[in-house]
């Protein structure tokens, strides 16, 4: 059992939109080098949590700590500079640039004070790692879905993150492609990156996750190994639905 301290720690995190609490009293820790999954029914607040971690939203309550440093008041780009990376669910490649140039953006700006040559080296490395080498010179807008996702991860990797947040990477992938994506995530972790990912596809969670956090209605529901949480009766109940399953809760 991994007894190292958390590299990413969330304490009493909360986010209110008007009268609605999208995330409420959430606390968890992610250990270094682990693959940590966040799951939960629709509207559980998973993406909101990720947005709070990346700095796209400001928490109403609570703290976020990265490598012992508080980041919850920092703008997104500073969190990236400190080692928190993110790959988005819907990929938006930068237009009029090749795949390589897209990845270079992450390399150039992800680490402050980096020089051009080193940035290009890191970009190439990220391209290698994500299997994009064959498409590096292609126009970034000219890619298949799987290639786009590789690009997104490569871009995020180029920022040299220590913790990488992934938002539903499997969405839209065919089974063969999903297998490749799973392998990619494992490869990324093996280079020393801690991974936190949101996923709906359970077999992927089972294969990848070292630990799983279950959220429901913005709150902590359960935490543990995949086997543990899937055996948890309250988790089962949350997924199977309650009387008034309100699907319109905010993301």
């Amino acid at each position: 059992m991994n007894t190292q301290p958390s590299i990413l720690h969330v304490e009493n995190l909360g986010k209110r939109f008007g009268g609605l609490a999208a995330v409420d009293e959430l606390s968890f820790g992610v250990k270094e080098h682990e693959i940590f999954a966040i799951i939960g029914p629709n509207g559980a607040g998973k993406t909101t949590t990720l947005n709070l971690l990346s700095g796209l939203l400001t928490p109403t309550t609570g703290t976020i700590t990265l490598k012992g440093q508080r980041i919850d008041r920092l703008p997104s780009f500073e969190r990236t500079h400190l080692g928190l990376g993110r790959a988005f669910q819907v990929v938006q490649p930068f237009p009029e640039m090749t795949v390589r140039e897209n990845v270079q953006v992450g390399a150039l700006f992800g680490t402050p004070g980096i020089d051009r040559a080193e940035a290009e080296r890191r970009a190439d490395e990220a391209i290698e790692r994500t299997g994009l080498a064959a498409f590096a010179e292609r126009d970034a807008e000219d890619l298949t879905l799987l290639q786009e996702k590789r690009l997104e991860i490569a871009r995020a990797l180029a920022t040299s993150p220590e913790v990488l947040l992934l938002d539903e990477v499997m969405a839209g992938l065919r089974p063969g492609e999903a297998r490749q994506a799973v392998q990619l995530v494992r490869d990324v972790r093996d280079t020393g990156v801690t991974i936190v990912f949101i996923e709906h596809v359970m077999p992927v969670v089972r294969d990848l996750a070292d630990r799983v956090l279950v959220m429901d209605h913005g709150r902590f529901l359960a935490e543990g190994s995949y086997a543990e949480v899937t055996a948890n009766p309250s988790v089962i109940e949350a997924y199977l639905g309650r009387e008034d399953d309100d699907e319109e809760a905010p993301q």
Partner: protein
């Protein structure tokens, strides 16, 4: 070296501009005065277009271009009237004050996007216009504005020169000054095409949040774009004030300037350096005809160009041409591969 490759055509262009007045005089004789005026307007339009384009690269479609233009104009006018300094100092001063103003506006509107940003910048321009109109009359002339001394008073011998030659020499100075500003603006535009800035600007334009996640500092980049953009157009406003001889709130801050500044690069091709220049070249010629025939409503031509560009040429002339060209390239490469397979 890549830098040299870019600078060489600019140097050649600068030389061409330097000799253009002489060429015009030699070939067009009497008519060269109006040709010179036309070319000067074209250069001015190019500066407007290039500077607006710089700001557009970060996704900030500003309707405040006239505000910085007018500020530059008023700065030089006020300085000329109240300070005992060489006239030309008003030009860089106008540029600098425009930059300070732009940084202020830019900082305050950082979180505004799309149409909200556009409307805020438009509102800002109107407020600024009103501010200048209501400044104490002895200071800034109120609604009637103030006269501005010309920069060039060529000494000429009435006996040996014809009338048109005198007018020509008077205008030649302004043309060369405009040309200098154009070269400066081209260099600024090219600067934003250098890799680091270009990638940062494009990233912000595509999606500011994703760009921030990539580590780009959105505020710094957007303000930088504002500064570069306003510096050029501020100086243009200042030179124009001397050329025209007066500054007036309605005229110096007119939305017409903003319309010219945005239609030209959209027509020519946004996010390129060549596009605004090509657009200016073509539109300046049309503008002359429009102004002569349609007087008050000549902007309608620009409106039509804008509509047609959005509908049929969303990448502008240069952008569409380049895209077509690269498609032809890749097609010929494919056929070449097939041929050799």
């Amino acid at each position: 070296m890549k830098l040299l490759r870019d600078l060489l055509p600019i140097a050649a262009f600068a030389l061409f501009l330097w000799f253009l007045p002489d060429l015009l005089r030699a070939f067009a004789g009497r008519a060269s005065v109006s040709y010179l005026s036309l070319v000067t307007n074209g250069v001015g339009l190019a500066i407007l277009a290039l500077s607006w384009d710089i700001l557009a690269r970060t996704g900030q479609l500003s309707l405040a271009h006239a505000a910085f233009y007018g500020t530059g104009a008023y700065v030089t006018a006020i300085m000329a009237r109240h300070l005992d300094l060489p006239l030309w100092i008003g030009i860089p001063a106008g540029g600098l004050v425009a930059v300070i103003l732009a940084l202020g506006v830019g900082a305050v509107t950082l979180r505004l996007r799309g149409i909200y940003f556009a409307i805020a910048t438009l509102a800002f321009t109107e407020v600024l216009k009103s501010v200048f109109r209501h400044l104490p009359t002895p200071f800034a002339g109120g609604a009637a504005g103030i006269n501005v001394e010309p920069l060039f008073r060529p000494v000429f011998d009435a006996a040996t020169m014809e009338r048109w030659e005198i007018a020509f020499f008077r205008n030649e100075g302004y043309f060369l000054l405009y040309a200098l500003l154009l070269i400066i603006t081209i260099l600024l535009s090219l600067m934003t095409r250098r890799s680091r800035l270009r990638q940062a600007f494009t990233a912000i334009r595509t999606n500011e949040e994703v760009a921030a996640i990539m580590g780009v500092h959105p505020a710094r980049m957007k303000l930088l774009a504002f500064a570069l953009s306003s510096f050029a157009v501020g100086m243009l406003g200042a030179v124009h004030a001397h050329r025209v001889g007066s500054v007036v709130p309605e005229g110096s801050f007119s939305v017409e300037t903003t319309v010219l500044a945005l239609v030209t690069p959209i027509f020519g091709g946004l996010y390129t350096t060549l596009g605004p220049i090509v657009g200016a070249g073509m539109l300046a010629g049309i503008e002359e005809t429009l102004k002569r025939n349609l007087a008050d409503g000549y902007l309608i031509g620009y409106g039509v160009v804008l509509i047609l560009s959005i509908l049929f040429l969303p990448k502008g002339l240069v952008g569409t041409t380049r895209a077509w060209w690269s498609r032809r390239q890749s097609k010929s490469m494919d056929t070449a591969e097939e041929g050799s397979a």
